[in-house]
Symmetry: C2
Subunit: 403 residues, 2 copies
Amino acid sequence: MTAVTSLLEKYNIDPKQIGRLEVGSETVLDKSKSIKTFLMQIFEESGNTDIEGVDSTNACYGGTAALFNCVNWVESSSWDGRYGLVVCTDSAVYAEGPARPTGGAAAIAMLVGPDAPIVFESKLRASHMAHAYDFYKPNLASEYPVVDGKLSQTCYLMALDSCYKNLSHKYEKMEGKKFSIAEAAYFVFHSPYNKLVQKSFARLVFNDALSDASSIDEAGKEKLSPFSSLTGDESYQNRDLEKASQLVAKPFYDEKVGPTTLIPKQVGNMYTASLYAAFASLIHNKTTALDGKRVILFSYGSGLSATMFSLRLREGQHPFSLSKIASVMNVSEKLKSRHEFPPEKFVETMHLMEQRYGANNFVTSKDCSLLAPGTYYLLEVDSKYRRFYAKKALANGSLANGH
Amino acid sequence: MTAVTSLLEKYNIDPKQIGRLEVGSETVLDKSKSIKTFLMQIFEESGNTDIEGVDSTNACYGGTAALFNCVNWVESSSWDGRYGLVVCTDSAVYAEGPARPTGGAAAIAMLVGPDAPIVFESKLRASHMAHAYDFYKPNLASEYPVVDGKLSQTCYLMALDSCYKNLSHKYEKMEGKKFSIAEAAYFVFHSPYNKLVQKSFARLVFNDALSDASSIDEAGKEKLSPFSSLTGDESYQNRDLEKASQLVAKPFYDEKVGPTTLIPKQVGNMYTASLYAAFASLIHNKTTALDGKRVILFSYGSGLSATMFSLRLREGQHPFSLSKIASVMNVSEKLKSRHEFPPEKFVETMHLMEQRYGANNFVTSKDCSLLAPGTYYLLEVDSKYRRFYAKKALANGSLANGH
């Protein structure tokens, strides 16, 4: 609710101008009632209930599915001229153990409409979807997932390979020339942790070397040629290949990936929002320099579903220019205004969350002193499991109640 | 899996021809991994993993969201020429009490592509989405929902009113004349139980009478005029209005709704599949007589989201003609081949389901004697909650294994 109201306010958009609202999330508040219906509270106030779209779910991929759905809607005959709005939101945690620091929470709202500065190259898109048990949440009573960390990483890299090969194939068919990392200015990855992003980009470089693409010079190809005979499975586990390809990839990584890593590195995993936080980092870092540039994004959700897709950026016109977007996002200030807590406090909070997960009949501390003005926060879950929120007053003193 | 493989076989479609697969469901097997990824097993076998789409969730509405997404995809620039496939599937139960008989289970698969015999009139569509606690599943550890039966019915009728008024308004703007029940040959409703369908259609007739539409004769309008001064809320509770409007609606109901009620009446509630089972009843009952006809559908999911939309039917060409669809569905035979069980047996099965809901480490009885050939069934959920299925041999002896 905070992300949606903030977006509407900052771009001065009447809630009546929204014709589609869709949520991507892997966080289950309710197994039947969608998160989208909670967000409808914002729009009901202005009398707008004619808003299509519900929740899209598959691990961290739901936001990408929601985004594609919204873009397709704008291009379809059922589009009614209004904006689409996509929300990626999660609060995801791990049981105690080495994976715990890769939990995280975030919400990102994106507006979709015609004549945007960020344009989909819809034909340049490839998916890889399969049945896998790498990360899943089958224990319905627990907030924690079941994770096979090693399998999850292999699944991610396999899906990446598959998407990259398929996208390259489609590009070659359309453009009559080979695709390689040289064809895009930037590469943005789903970023649960930065090491995986480094590995992922190195994997694309390895793919380019194998296909003898001109993006990699002879010295680089030579360094990677010893690994050309590895089977797929072997290559995902091979540490020497990992090191060699990251070394060859290094200068390209600094140029084409580095500018996308700011927020994921600072904030950690954000699940459905992760890829778009990385993309936001790029807009923050490069802004007007992105005019005319192609950006390739790779979205991954365990289970598994993955898509690699292409965007073409242009400066665009106020209020939807890249400069305006960068200034509205205000990334530097937001990063600076975070609060630091000791791990003990986090563990304590997690114990409280464990008790309250799926529970009813409790009130929260209602302490909103650390929240930014305009933030919605949970007040109470009543005996019928109904959730009540309040909104922290804005600096100018106005207050809304989410009851 | 049964519905998808059956559709592909009966229409002789190569799994490689599917470019989008999307599931609508309110049944949570896993909070992160989508049902769609389970279905990918069918397509991985044929080497097709480039299939977009995940799961859409909001109570019984998820299937409609998935269907709209698929149709929009075919109309968008990201369509790659292949078919879309939509699956509506649920297994939903109630705790002991009066609502228990309204539980149910079903799976319906629908193919989406160009030049179809069932065509969307995309501009003739109106949604009503809002934040409500009429039926929801906040207790994550339990398979049973929290239900406010009376509120749920009021929400349904309010959403119906809102959609009908908005759709009528859009129609009038486009066509320059009033919309009324006379403008469509058939009306199909989300059908948890038949009494609600009768009430719903009577509500449309009441709306027509209030707006002085020519669809209702003077005698009918006179019968309903005493209720014209009721507020919305009063009118949802008024038993006399209910009786009077159903009486006025009766001849129209028999003609425009009766042919849609066969399967929902025989099978009971089917959740996301309910609306489409009602629509299948219509195709079964009227088949070629539907050529050129407009059909209005009303989809409702608690929480809440609802859309009223319009389809235009035509006989179409083999293999996607209405006659072929009716013969493939083979509704009469399927209804005849059901098995009857005493309520005690059902209660016993429910106890077993309660124990196994969200559980791991169990094997099923593997008794598939009552299943139709080609049906997938659960064998085992292992210690890591991984689910293993088998497929009952087809009559010709071929067997597939879902491991």
